[in-house]
């Protein structure tokens, strides 16, 4: 989703003001506060009445990908989103979420938490893109719940990072549910914390979690990636980081926990620098050192 095409968004909010909620036949989209009032069952997810956020209830098969867009343009804006997405049984949906600044703005914060419920036999492809000005604090925190045979392909990608970024995801998989989660972040002058937890609760469930993190320009990365196998299930954690700056630090902690003798969970982790061989190869194709580094980084983040 392109930030310039906000008019395509089915839910669009700027600062604290909802600019657009599209009418989609198969989907009910409401401000979270309205959903809290309209559907009492939603309160078990929302808890207290939310101040802002979106409620998306996919009841039937939509014909187009769903898009949400949340922006900050003003100074000192403190967003606090509480979102709820529910996908009914047997549907196949694509969701694109974009959050970021569309103007140079300062001292803003974007805190978003939410629940994503994917019911039996449904398949969700979710692309979550962020792009922020440096002087912001951003904290997305989501819980995904995959019912039997549900599938989730989730990518979180940030190309322009704020000074503080904290990304948390917890995914619970019931029987035969499958999740693929990718966290792709290019940190520049950023304190980045991420924690993703996959719980393989049901028999036959499986999960793959991949982290690709760039530590550039005085960044600090702490990444915890966890996989809990509570049944006969399989999972893999793949954590990789490239350090492109002398003043940056990276800590990657993959953790696999197995509570079932039929389960198999594995992990790999690596932290390295940009390969001199690759760099020189691209320079002998006429790219400057900077262009070559940017291309290698974009390739590293393209998985």
């Amino acid at each position: 989703m392109d930030m310039k095409n906000v008019n395509d968004a089915h839910f669009w909010q700027v600062d604290h003001r909802i600019k657009r909620i599209a009418d989609v036949k198969q989907v009910e989209i409401l401000p979270s506060s309205s959903a809290w009032e309209k559907y009492s069952w939603s309160r078990k997810y929302f808890g207290e009445k939310p101040l802002e956020g979106y409620f998306v209830w996919v009841k039937e098969q939509p014909e187009i990908p769903l898009q949400t867009c949340v922006n900050i343009v003003g100074r000192n804006i403190k967003q606090k989103f509480r979102n709820l997405l529910i996908v009914e049984e047997g549907l196949k949906i694509e969701l694109q979420g974009f959050c970021g600044n569309i103007a140079a703005c300062f001292k803003g914060s974007h805190r978003a938490s939410g629940n994503i419920i994917i019911k039996k036999n449904s398949n969700v492809i979710y692309r979550h893109y962020h792009s922020w000005e440096p002087d912001n604090v951003v904290e997305p925190n989501y819980e995904f719940f995959l019912e039997e045979n549900a599938k989730l392909d989730y990518v979180y990608k940030t190309t322009h990072t704020p000074k503080i970024l904290s990304v948390r995801n917890k995914i619970t998989c019931l029987r035969n549910a499958k999740v693929s989660i990718k966290i792709l972040v290019n940190c520049q002058k950023t304190q980045f914390f991420t924690e993703d937890t996959v719980v393989l609760k049901g028999e036959g469930s499986s999960g793959i979690s991949k982290l690709r993190l760039i530590a550039g320009k005085e960044s600090s990365i702490k990444a915890y990636s966890r996989m809990f196998a509570q049944s006969a299930s399989s999972g893999h954690l793949d954590c990789q980081s490239l350090v492109t700056d002398k003043g940056s630090t990276v800590k990657l902690v993959p953790e696999v926990v197995c509570d079932n003798k039929e389960a198999q969970v594995t992990h790999e982790a690596s932290i390295g620098k940009i390969s001199e061989e690759q760099l020189n190869y691209l320079r002998t194709r006429g790219l400057t050192k900077e262009q070559a580094i940017n291309l290698i980084i974009s390739g590293f983040l393209r998985i």
């Binding site: 002998t284 262009q291 291309l295 290698i296």
Partner: protein, 241 residues
Amino acid sequence: MKSKSLLKITNLHATTCEGKKIIKGVELTIEKGRVYALLGPNGSGKSSLAHIILGNPKYKVIKGKIIFGGKVLNGLSPEKRVRLGLAIAYQHPPVVKGVPLKVLLKIISENDFEDKFKIASKFLTRDVNSDYSGGEKKLSELLQILSLKPKLAIFDEPDSGLDIKNLHNLADIVNKELISKNTSVLVITHSGKILELLNPDMTSVMVEGKIVCGSKNYKDILKTINKYGYEKCKRCPFLAS
């Protein structure tokens, strides 16, 4: 007709960054539009010489000059040398993960090159050099060279790991797209298999960091090497320049 010198290397001495001497007084002149072949045993410094010409920071020039198109290359970055008209096809090109060949070709092509890309349609969308066969690697390198439109194209062991059909395909493209268009070519080869397909104007032998002999007739050189091996080249009065 007298042709003009495009690349002139005089008394070149170079080491690795760790200080190991690998090039020990190389003299080499390549004229515009000519095909030059450099033979030599493994470890003789042929590939290192190619990478030094391109400015690979793994090596240090400690003495001598590399002049290309009248400009001294010593101290110039690889990309500046490429912009002056140099290009190299690697023997063992590295994998660049997440970067499809098509993307790289588009970045380095100045002009619309889509027609040429068609011959690599099977692997254009795959990451650069990732899981390529031997033939695909050579073709990918060749396409990158063609995209750069160089004045001098250097091929490092273009005949290694290629079957006869792929070797002929590669040589056909080099002849048609480079040699016939007056591009100079330097072919580095251990086996010499490609020479009869490219018919070089000059062929030399490099041993232990030095060019020890040369001839305008590549067949004479190959005949001697096949008969006596590379060691004999050092002492061969018949071919000594």
